[in-house]
């Protein structure tokens, strides 16, 4: 039975990887819900499975067993093509290393996900300019990633994540490659997105300072949550 207040429902999810002849379990029978509008931080030591869990929720990796329902859609039952289409319309991604396309300008990077929508050129422009204004980078839209600082690149990445107005924002170590000041800017921005726009954010981090900004913190160790 779906809880209307939950945006993510995870039921009995397990995941393991094969390394040669060895099977390495990463997540074991994870079950939990994430409420709509939540700002959740997941912490844990390296290899605890937090990035894997994030990838599963975001639909970029497949569960071995269990189900994940996001916004009412059981993403574990979708084909690769359906999953790609679902990601394009529902999930915004923020990566540790920004992962912008180096050959595209800030504007074009933010515009990239919109090419998969049916929006017209002028509608796309409007959305991109709005997203870049939100991260306060209107004046840098024609710059290439190499011409931007790390903090600015991460803000472009955030603009790219929010431009499709996603149901869910997932962030994997979003401040891991930033100096203190830039990290603070990015966290403030995420906080605003959560508070003012009601975006549900799931953030994986090693940084306790970043985790403090979340409303809810969960610790993952050896593939299981050890506290709430």
């Amino acid at each position: 039975m779906q809880d209307p207040s939950s945006i993510v429902e995870i039921r009995g999810v397990s995941k393991s990887y094969r390394r040669g002849s060895h099977v390495v379990p990463v997540l074991s029978d994870i079950t939990f819900d994430i409420a709509r509008g939540e700002f959740l931080a997941i912490m844990g030591p390296s290899g605890s499975g937090k990035s894997t869990l994030l990838n599963l929720i975001a639909g970029i990796d497949r569960v071995d067993t269990g189900t994940i329902v996001v916004g009412g859609e059981d993403i574990t039952s979708l084909s690769e093509t359906e999953l790609a289409r679902w990601r394009a319309g529902n999930v915004g991604f923020i990566f540790q290393f920004y992962n912008l396309m180096p050959v595209l300008t800030a504007f074009e990077n933010v515009d990239l996900p919109l090419h998969l929508t049916g929006l017209s050129r002028s509608q796309r422009r409007e959305h991109v300019e709005m997203a870049l204004a939100m991260v306060n980078l209107t004046d840098r839209m024609e710059h290439y990633p190499a011409q931007l600082s790390g903090g600015e690149q991460q803000r472009v990445a955030i603009a790219r994540a929010i431009v499709i107005d996603p149901v869910l924002l997932v962030a994997d170590e979003p401040t891991g490659d930033l100096d203190r000041k830039s990290a603070e800017d990015v966290l403030n921005l995420m906080d605003r997105l959560n508070r003012e726009m009601g975006k549900t954010i799931i953030m994986v981090t090693h940084d306790p300072h970043a985790a403090e900004r979340a409303h809810l913190l969960r610790h993952l160790e050896k593939g299981v949550f050890n506290s709430t």
Binding site: N55, I60, R87, F95, N99, V103, L104, H115, D177
Partner: protein
């Protein structure tokens, strides 16, 4: 549109590598185009041959003559429209390195059978009037700077002695495939000389050229002519002009085969070069492809990025190769015109160049595409940072 921009920009991210690959592709296209052009030149005589012409020669070998007396019999064979005859003269102009084809022909009937040799009417009339006159192809006249009225002496090899001629006409080909390097003079002039010097060799011709009324009946006409001279002292072999020319080419079949094999080898080598470039490029960009997939781009979007880049590189190389081919062909025409009188880049070669570029681009992209399409997003993202 954004993918197109990414293809263009991605292709030149590693300028040195892409540049060298384009140059390599250009050289391969140049080599392929030149080899194809050599083959075209080799078969130019075949292309220029007419279905309505037969050639009759001595059935033993081309070096044995036929009596001139056969002319009337052949002329009156049913289905024969016109007959001409001639001899390979084999004369040398000043030195052997100035080689060109020279024939003694019965001028009136010969020019009638070869309307593709265009001679201005006045020059033609002068040529027919003057027994010492000769006509030369435009390229041959240009090569030696001959002008109408110039005296030219050939040293005979088959028919020894110095033979003096006067240039009475310059012909041009109606099409590109017509050889413009030939030298033709009156057979009567040759025969008069032979009568004086070697009376036993007089009134003998090397070959007959026969114009048939209906090309569809060529085979029957050829059989009838050969049957007419069966069991004579000089039996004949009559074949289509195309088969006659092919007979010469078949003597060099091994060379033609080597040229074809080398063309294929060139393609395989450049395929390996481009495939290596694309493999390196794709490996470097696995992370970016993973990000695109994360954003919702499909495997086919990623594939089109790789395929587009490979095709861009190979087509750029193709254009470079074509740009080098034309000057190279001009150079060959100047330097080797005596051996390849018809040497030009035919349109089919240009299309084949583009075809090779497309084929190499496509083939080089297939394995990298497959890898990029199949890579799991999580694995691709792990390669970043």
């Amino acid at each position: 549109m954004i993918l197109l921009k990414m293809i263009m920009k991605n292709a030149f991210r590693r300028k040195m590598r892409t540049g060298l690959t384009i140059v390599a592709m250009g050289i391969a296209i140049l080599a392929f185009g030149m080899l194809r052009t050599v083959l075209t030149a080799w078969y130019a005589g075949v292309d220029a041959s007419s279905a309505s012409r037969l050639v009759t020669r001595n059935s033993v070998s081309l070096i044995f003559p036929l009596p001139l007396a056969y002319y009337d019999k052949i002329r009156h064979t049913s289905g024969v429209r016109a007959v001409s005859y001639g001899n390979w003269f084999g004369g040398i102009y000043i030195s052997e390195k100035n080689f060109f084809a020279n024939f003694a022909v019965e001028p009136r009937s010969y020019l009638g059978l070869y309307p593709e040799l265009m001679v201005p009417e006045k020059q033609k009339a002068d040529f027919l009037r003057d027994r010492r006159g000769f006509i030369a192809g435009r390229k041959l006249a240009d090569r030696f700077g001959w002008k109408i009225g110039d005296n030219v002496t050939l040293k005979g090899t088959i028919f020894p002695g110095d033979w003096d001629f006067v240039l009475r006409g310059i012909y041009e080909g109606r099409t590109k495939t017509v050889d413009e390097t030939m030298f033709m003079f009156s057979w009567d002039y040759l025969n008069e000389g032979v009568k004086k010097m070697y009376p036993s060799m007089a009134n003998q011709v090397g070959f007959y050229v026969i114009g048939v009324a209906d090309p569809n009946l060529s085979a029957e006409v050829a059989l009838e002519i050969d049957a007419m001279f069966a069991n004579s002292r000089a039996e004949t072999l009559t074949e289509s002009e195309r088969a006659f020319v092919m007979g010469f080419i078949s003597m060099t079949e091994a060379i033609v085969m080597v040229i074809r094999i080398v063309s294929l080898v060139v393609i395989v080598i450049i395929l390996a070069v481009v495939a290596n470039t694309m493999a390196m490029t794709t490996r470097e960009r696995f992370g970016e492809y993973a990000v695109l997939k994360t954003l919702g781009y499909s495997g086919w979007h990623i594939g089109s990025l790789i395929m587009g880049e490979a095709l861009l590189i190979t087509l750029a190389g193709c254009l470079l190769g074509l740009a080098m081919t034309y000057p190279m062909v001009r150079f060959f025409t100047t330097e080797l015109g005596a051996y390849f009188p018809i040497f030009y880049v035919e349109p089919l070669t240009v299309w084949l160049d583009f075809g090779v570029a497309a084929l190499v681009g496509t083939a080089a992209a297939i394995i990298p595409m497959r890898q990029a399409i199949r890579i799991r997003i999580a694995d691709g993202l792990r390669r970043i940072g």
